[in-house]
């Protein structure tokens, strides 16, 4: 317990001083993106990992958050930071609607409904040009030129998201979420209003994902539907972050976010220019293989199966 807290403090300090020591924009950028994935992954994990409602449509909330902030800033001149608040709230309202439709379905049918939902929102954002500028996308002035403010805001958001999930899971809500995941008929018979609590889980999840989207808008200064409503780069990536890091663990999505962003970047840059260019095309394939590997050997992800991973590591060291 103490050792764990110690590790957390050390990691926290490393993250806090990192941008003061490493001045490279490139590395700061990667970590900011990882922070965004920590938020999305943790939110996804609350709904899918803890509550058992596997979403294939988290791009809905990310995109809505990003577009809310973008449209408010571009069309109404409202500050990007208000946009972050509104981005979260709008995503939550959309979450209410998504829940109303999709929670009529269970298990894989729910997952498919959210997948379809994601595509519908992407199409709306593409075609409703009067509001969204369609494929042209939305461009706003970034508030800061330096990456430092974004770094610390991202860190604060990611930390608060993890903290909120952690707190939630310690309350009655947490017990209810997991009960619903384990057996929703049993849960209902024990007095749990399963529709209400699925929606509560979804609302928290969509709020943080929306904030992440709005933060992304502010940080990047540019969005278009193909990026923020992307099935591949957002919805599926959210699942990968959760699964690789460890579903239904507090730290899993955080670990998953850093691993996945690292991997993605390694491939995107074709091993930092060391490998031939075509390697960068292979990242979808590698992600697919990675998921198969994780599910087969470490079904609980890096954090969930940490003891197992440690054992393997020590064993191989002893024998060599």
């Amino acid at each position: 317990m103490n050792k764990k807290n110690g590790i957390l403090v050390v990691l926290g300090i490393i993250l806090l001083v990192f941008p003061l020591v490493v001045h490279s924009d490139y590395y700061q950028h990667l970590i900011i993106i990882a922070f965004i994935w920590v938020i999305i992954g943790s939110s996804w994990n609350l709904l899918a990992g803890y509550t058992g409602q596997v979403s294939f449509g988290h791009a809905i909330f990310f995109g809505i958050g990003a577009y809310t902030a973008g449209i408010l800033a571009m069309k109404l001149g409202i500050s990007a930071w208000w946009g972050m608040m509104f981005g979260g709230i709008t995503a939550m309202l959309i979450g209410l609607f998504v829940g109303w439709v999709c929670f009529r379905l269970r298990g894989p049918y729910f997952a498919l409904a959210t997948l379809a939902g994601g595509e519908i929102f992407r199409l709306i954002a593409t075609n409703w040009e009067a509001l969204t500028e369609g494929m042209v996308g939305i461009l706003i002035m970034q508030t800061f030129r330096s990456k430092l403010p974004y770094y610390y805001i991202g860190l604060a958001l990611a930390a608060s998201c993890i903290y909120v999930v952690h707190l939630t899971m310690k309350t009655k809500w947490g017990y209810y979420f997991v009960s619903i995941r384990e057996d929703q008929d049993a849960a209902a018979s024990l007095g749990i209003n399963i529709v209400l609590y699925k929606n509560i889980s979804l609302l928290i999840s969509s709020f943080f994902t929306g904030m992440a989207g709005a933060f992304y808008m502010n940080y990047m200064g540019f969005i278009d539907p193909e990026v923020v409503f992307s099935l591949h780069f957002v919805s599926i990536m959210a699942i990968l972050v959760g699964i690789v890091g460890g579903v239904a663990t507090i730290w899993g999505p955080a670990v998953g976010a850093f691993v996945m962003v690292g991997l993605q970047e390694t491939f995107r840059s074709a091993f930092f220019g060391l490998a031939p260019k075509w390697v960068s095309q292979g990242h979808a394939l590698v992600f697919g293989l990675l998921v198969i590997f994780v599910i087969m050997f470490f079904a609980n992800g890096i954090v969930g199966d940490w003891e197992k991973i440690k054992k393997i590591f020590f064993k191989t060291r002893e024998t060599t």
Binding site: T171, S179, L190, G191
Partner: protein
């Protein structure tokens, strides 16, 4: 006034009438047995009572008020709790967590809910298992966990669906003791049971059904002597 009343309850599954015009009354404080051969419709009656299925026609009254059409969780809040014939442990939660989740039905604070759960586990003789995952329990433990969870919701009426099935003789005696202890704590019990030793020894009254229809009702003695019951159900053992 009866605690629970089924009035002309009918449940159809497509063309199959699983429950046909069942009327019965359960009085406060009694153990009321529901028996019938496999497929007679017993579990379906429970499923209607906690709104797992909508009923086709008829009515269900709890303390004089209709509970027809209420949501499953509301029925639990009103004071009717059930166990499942095919047990439904919250598998990847510990035994204590299973019961705590149920205790939130009446208790707001987590500390109080946990305390209540500890009490219930003690009552059901599960304290030594409390930190084990529910899925790691053997069948006897799972059945007791089913009961413990329902007790944590503080029911007035408890519906037990074949709690004794699959238990070894020692466990069977323990189960009977537990059921009597629950009754003594003031909870009314409606119990479905195949094992005659159990149902005959603990029930105050018994209602027998076959093919979804009532064939007899009375004291255990009366029902055991009823020719329709003997023919339909007790056949080999008692004829």
């Amino acid at each position: 006034m009866a605690l629970l009343e089924l009035k002309n309850l009918v449940k159809d599954f497509g063309g199959l009438r699983a429950v046909n015009d069942i009327t019965l009354h359960v009085k406060k404080g009694e153990i009321f047995g529901l028996i019938g051969p496999n497929g007679a419709g017993k579990t379906t009656i429970f499923n209607c009572m906690n709104s797992y299925y909508p009923i086709t026609s008829g009515d269900i009254l709890f303390k004089g008020k209709s509970i027809k059409g209420l949501k499953t969780y509301k029925i639990c809040h009103l004071g009717i709790a059930r166990t499942f014939q095919i047990v439904k442990p919250l598998a990847r939660m510990t035994v204590l967590e299973n019961v705590t989740a149920a205790a939130f039905c009446r208790i707001k604070k987590i500390k109080d809910a946990k305390e209540e759960a500890h009490k219930v586990l003690e009552f059901c003789n599960l304290t030594s298992e409390k930190d084990k995952l529910a899925k790691s329990l053997p069948i006897g433990g799972r059945k007791r966990l089913e009961i413990a969870r329902t007790l944590a919701t503080k029911p007035e009426l408890l519906l037990l669906d074949e709690t004794a099935a699959g238990l070894n003789p020692t466990e069977l005696d323990e189960a009977i003791d537990l059921i009597i202890k629950i009754k003594d704590s003031g909870i009314t019990i409606l119990i479905i049971e195949h094992i005659m030793k159990v149902i005959m020894s603990i029930s105050d009254r018994i209602h027998a059904i076959n093919f979804g229809e009532t064939i007899a009702e009375g004291t255990p003695r009366e029902v055991a002597a009823n020719p329709a019951v003997i023919e339909a159900y007790l056949g080999d053992d008692y004829a």
